[in-house]
């Protein structure tokens, strides 16, 4: 975490991310012990919402491009202990190419944060 601080409240973080992505197709490009697919599913169960449509994070290449095209939201950010290694540069390039904008940022520590990117509104309308 880059500090000797206590771990943050994982329930609250999962709820806040779920409030943004809701049940829309979401690429979980950053997952670790703090924020992961299970915490999202559990947050949905706890709040009585529909389970989020989580896309498995492909590491790189065409699969990553395909996932970025299908996703309406992308959960990214820095972590020291990721569960899935994603090519960060390819992801950044994909986010820029698809003009995804950050809509939620949660700073955990100097070396750890969570950012949720959303597809542009026109893009979202066209896939409805």
């Amino acid at each position: 975490m880059g500090c000797e601080c206590d771990p943050p409240n994982s329930d609250r973080l999962a709820r806040r991310v779920l409030a943004v992505v809701s049940d829309k197709p979401t690429l979980l490009a950053r997952d670790d012990a703090l924020l992961n697919a299970e915490s999202q599913r559990f947050a949905a169960l706890r709040s009585g919402r529909l389970a989020p449509q989580l896309l498995a994070p492909p590491s790189q290449g065409p699969a990553l491009k395909d996932a970025l095209t299908r996703a309406r939201y992308v959960v990214a950010g820095r972590t020291l202990a990721p569960y899935h290694a994603v090519d960060g540069w390819a992801l950044l390039a994909g986010l820029a190419k698809r003009r995804l904008r950050p809509v939620f940022t949660y700073r955990i520590s100097q070396a750890k944060d969570v950012t949720v990117y959303a597809a542009p509104r026109s893009d979202r309308r066209s896939r409805r």
Partner: protein
């Protein structure tokens, strides 16, 4: 005999009380942090589904078993009544309570079989049952603690059965083995280690073979009766998971030779336990084993404990999947031997204990007390699980190794840098 039983019961009561208090301290620390990791959430959802299935009858429960076929059902099923009230993993950790008491009771039987009695037995049992390397795992809604408690309980039941001569204790031994097989998907590995040690013990015994054969049949029947329903319903996916996650190509495995695997297993276990505590436990366990081997009465139980732990570690070393608390049953047995070393009366050789031995014991005592005083700090696992520990240790299988690799190339993904 009556006095011995009374003193054993008193020791068990003291051990249970101490373990209960320590467990409550660990729980309070966990609830204060409000942190749950990936396993907590997964098993909490499983417990919630089991609670819903239980309300709809046995057929629905079998369906739920199949749906969560990669995860053993014992702990989530025990937690299901709690999950019906609130599926929060923070609350569901209360389901560990029976296992805390079972471990405390079993930790009384093992040192007693090694020859301890009275206050020394109570001290050893209380120390083993509340040892931070074990109890810290009870803070997590996970299967490792239950597996460790059941492994120790199985061995305790075997010792009570006097080499499978007592049918009632043999049935308990079988019951513990059966529960162990449904407590964790790799439970059969621990059960195999126990069976290997018990088989060796049986082969070196003489006489009463009819009683012992009857006891073995009783134990097998109760184990099969308990474990069969779940393995029949979900065994296919459990075995598939075991082979792919343990030996196949997965993010959790990698190519390594046999010696390299053994070294990695030892390294990972000591990292999970904490190097200082692991070294103390290992030194004391070796001391306890050496002392127990000198005595005719304690030789057999000590060998049983050591061989079970060794077989379990050897089995685990066949896979490169580091896992989460995989070695905890072996650690539990090592802790029991260590507690025996601490509590046993000084060995008398030519009237005086060896000065070096006394010195080592005094040093280990000091380090043990220091680590025991930091029991709430054993919530260290929470920091590790959240990745805050720079050593990269994590509660997720093998995430440490990947974390180390990944941290080296520290990819920054956000636009907020």
């Amino acid at each position: 005999m009556g006095t011995t039983t009374r003193s054993s019961r008193r020791a068990a009561a003291i051990a249970c009380a101490v373990a209960l208090v320590a467990f409550l301290v660990v729980l309070a620390a966990r609830w204060q942090h409000g942190f749950a990791n990936v396993d907590d959430y997964l098993y909490a959802r499983q417990a919630h589904e089991f609670a819903r299935a239980l309300a709809n009858g046995p057929a629905a429960l079998v369906e739920a078993w199949r749906a969560f076929g990669q995860n053993a059902p014992l702990v989530p099923t025990l937690a299901a009544p709690l999950a019906a009230i609130d599926p929060s993993p923070h609350l569901l950790t209360l389901a560990h309570l029976p296992f805390v008491l079972l471990l405390a009771a079993s930790c009384t039987v093992l040192p007693r079989a090694l020859g301890l009695a009275g206050a020394r037995l109570a001290l050893a049992a209380a120390a083993a049952a509340s040892a931070p390397p074990l109890l810290a795992w009870a803070a997590m809604f996970h299967f490792a603690f239950a597996s460790a408690a059941l492994t120790v309980a199985a061995l305790a039941a075997y010792m009570l059965s006097r080499g499978l001569r007592s049918p009632a204790a043999s049935a308990l031994f079988g019951l513990a083995i059966g529960l162990l097989c449904v407590a964790r998907v790799i439970g059969p590995l621990y059960a195999s280690a126990l069976i290997a040690a018990v088989a060796g013990d049986q082969l070196t015994r003489h006489g009463d073979w009819r009683e012992r054969l009857r006891g073995a049949l009783v134990a097998c029947s109760s184990a099969v009766l308990v474990a069969t329903p779940w393995w029949a319903a979900a065994g296919g996916s459990a075995l598939r998971y075991l082979t792919t996650a343990g030996y196949g190509e997965s993010p959790f495995t990698h190519e390594a030779g046999l010696l390299e695997r053994a070294r990695e297993r030892f390294d990972w276990t000591t990292t999970e336990t904490g190097w200082l505590v692991a070294c103390v436990v290992l030194a004391l366990a070796a001391l306890g084993l050496a002392r127990a081997l000198r005595n005719d009465r304690s030789r057999r139980p000590a060998l049983l404990m050591a061989i079970t732990a060794l077989c379990a570690m050897t089995g685990l070393a066949t896979s490169t999947n580091a896992g989460t608390g995989f070695a905890l049953p072996a650690i539990a047995l090592a802790v029991c031997l260590a507690a025996f070393a601490v509590a046993a009366p000084p060995a008398r050789r030519s009237g005086r204990p060896a000065a070096g031995l006394r010195g080592l014991r005094a040093l280990c005592w000091r380090v043990s007390l220091t680590s025991a005083a930091g029991l709430p700090c054993s919530m260290r696992y929470l920091r590790q699980a959240s990745g805050s520990d720079r050593s990269g240790s994590s509660a997720h299988p093998d995430s440490s190794r990947r974390a180390q690799r990944w941290a080296a190339s520290a990819t920054h993904l956000t636009a907020t840098d």
